[in-house]
């Protein structure tokens, strides 16, 4: 049996029985579900209110056609996406750190390194194991969220919605693997165990919280609730004309956001789930065309993190950092 798979299998078994893993994933699942369930309940209320309005119109003999509300069911997943964006990344770091730190702390790393295994078996097994874990977590959260949207929200879900959801789930998986692999690499490179975790948390703080927050704060649409231009009833062409006067400012804002892998993940999921209004009801081909650069950078960042983890966790590096 391939030693990479042997390590991955052991990792899955160890994590499945670990209390910390159960607590982290349980917390993430509960937070996501509460958020989706609350949004679904609100969706159902809006739907019921509209149906009641239509019924009342019919009862009163009115022939006026009531305008249907613009309700897009996948928008209900916004809270879940935001939890994955922040908490998911944090938990991915904790699991990635834990998987290496435990081996170093328990002394099992020495046992592993004294075995006739390949150069990348340790890193490969660890990252493969954690990737399978995150695939399972994302699949379970997606499935449960979908059930909540349908059962609590009574939202009409179509085949295209499931496809969008699966694409967004794929991006969520890539995003979580990125953070896990980064933490694996940083912990392997650190002689002192805490250093790897601290560095990973500083990167998380900068790229998940601070940079996206600065970008959001600089966005004119976030200056007043509902958006600055919408509140002032400025039409889109005029908005673009105004923004053209501030192209340098907008370039800096966009550049800041584009430097954060979190913002790439957010833009991708918000587009494919229709959370961002401009992508609602748009065909998938149009979304792919608009989102391809973000998809490429997220995939490239994840691949780079996996390669970093593999190179940082070779026998030679681990031996050097142990001695």
């Amino acid at each position: 049996m391939n030693s990479t798979w042997i390590v991955a299998e052991k990792e899955l078994l160890d994590l499945r029985r670990g209390r910390l893993f159960a607590i982290l994933i349980g917390f993430l699942a509960v937070a996501t579900l509460i958020s989706v369930a609350a949004a679904s309940a609100d969706f159902r209320n809006q739907l019921d209110a509209y149906n009641l309005y239509v019924a009342n119109l019919a009862t009163s003999g009115s022939t006026v056609a009531a305008a249907a509300p613009q309700l897009f069911p996948l928008k209900l997943l916004r809270g879940g996406v935001e939890y994955l964006e922040i908490l998911g990344a944090l938990f991915a770091i904790v699991l990635g750190y834990g998987t290496i730190a435990k081996e170093k702390h328990r002394g099992t790393l020495h046992l592993f390194l004294s075995r006739p295994v390949g150069r990348f078996a340790f890193a490969g097994g660890k990252v493969l194991g954690l990737s399978i874990v995150w695939l399972g977590v994302v699949a379970a959260l997606t499935a449960v969220s979908l059930v909540a949207v349908v059962t609590i929200g009574h939202a009409p879900i179509q085949g295209i919605d499931v496809a969008r959801l699966l694409i967004a789930g794929g991006f969520a998986w890539l995003y979580l693997v990125f953070w896990t692999a980064l933490a694996v690499g940083l912990t392997a490179l650190s002689t002192r165990l805490s250093t790897g975790l601290i560095v990973a948390l500083v990167i998380w703080l900068a790229f998940v919280l601070i940079i996206p927050q600065i970008g959001d704060t600089m966005d004119p649409d976030n200056q007043v609730p509902g958006g600055l231009f919408a509140t002032l009833q400025i039409q889109k062409p005029d908005e673009l004309a105004v923004l053209a006067q501030f192209s340098a400012f907008d370039g800096i804002r966009n550049g800041l956001e584009a430097s954060s892998v979190t913002k790439h993940f957010e833009r991708l999921t918000f587009a494919f789930l229709g959370i961002k209004d401009q992508y609602n009801q748009q065909p998938l081909s149009l979304m792919w065309a608009a989102m391809l650069p973000y998809a490429i950078t997220l995939t490239a960042a994840t691949l780079a993190a996996v390669v970093f983890a593999a190179l940082a966790t070779t026998r030679r590096t681990l031996q050097r950092k142990q001695s």
Partner: protein, 244 residues
């Protein structure tokens, strides 16, 4: 003619300006139980780490069962079993799952029969499905020995194997080492602080002092070179202090 299981030639390891091991030249014939003695920081663990390929030598080389630690580290790893000091294993996994993991890493495809044989040999049956996290120090040490001998290595390295064990655990471990050596002809290289254990277990000894080998001989020759009423402890201190 006996061939060497372990043979080192001017093996040296430095950490920056500090030379942890200097020019170690040593031969341990097959079937020996070799005890490496020395005070804390003398270079014992560095020596084991070099011989088990966990460290790369700064200079010199070592051959383990005919494989060079510098040019054929994979061959060395195939030939050795290793028990580090105070290793803890995977607490969430059962005894069987822990041993399966290490057996598969050592290339055993269907290890269960071999695991049962080893556990029977160690008189450690009835705990297969118990999580290792619930084991006492003595039980963990037996897990350590089991994982080290699963693939029937030619040479077994033990780093302070009696560290933290109670007297009963020490005796059990000593008996196990002797049986492994007698029944399977396994060459055993161990670091230890317990001089009494060395007398009862080892066929030859070496003494390290500040990274230099100051004594290497068979146990019988070492004891014969000193008055009969002197204990190994007295002999050790005389040899160690003479080297300073």
């Amino acid at each position: 003619m006996t061939t060497s299981a372990i043979s080192t030639a001017a093996l040296t390891r430095s950490f920056g300006a500090h030379q942890a091991l200097s020019d170690l030249t040593l031969d341990v014939p097959q079937g020996e139980v070799f005890g490496l003695l020395g005070h804390n920081g003398a270079g014992k663990t560095t020596t084991v780490n070099l011989l088990t390929t966990l460290l790369e030598p700064t200079a010199g080389d070592a051959m383990i069962n005919g494989h060079s630690v510098k040019t054929d580290a994979a061959g060395v790893r195939q030939s050795i079993g290793y028990l580090p000091e105070n290793v803890q294993f995977y607490d969430n996994l059962t005894l069987l799952e822990n041993l399966r993991f290490f057996a598969r890493l050592s290339g055993l495809r269907r290890p269960d029969a071999r695991i049962r044989d080893v556990l029977t040999f160690l008189d450690f049956t009835g705990h297969d499905n118990q999580r290792v996290g619930t084991f006492s120090k003595g039980m963990r040490q037996r897990v350590g020995i089991a994982q080290a001998v699963l693939h029937a290595p030619a040479v077994l390295f033990l780093d302070e194997p009696t560290s933290g064990l109670d007297p009963e655990g020490v005796r059990t471990l000593r008996e196990t080492i002797v049986r492994l050596n007698h029944e399977f002809g396994m060459t055993i290289f161990m670091n230890t602080h317990l001089l009494s254990e060395v007398t009862k277990t080892c066929t030859s000894i070496g003494i390290l002092n500040h990274g230099r080998l100051v004594h290497h001989d068979s146990m019988s020759n070492t004891l014969a070179a000193f008055p009969a009423d002197e204990s190994l402890e007295d002999i050790y201190f005389q040899l160690d202090s003479a080297a300073v």
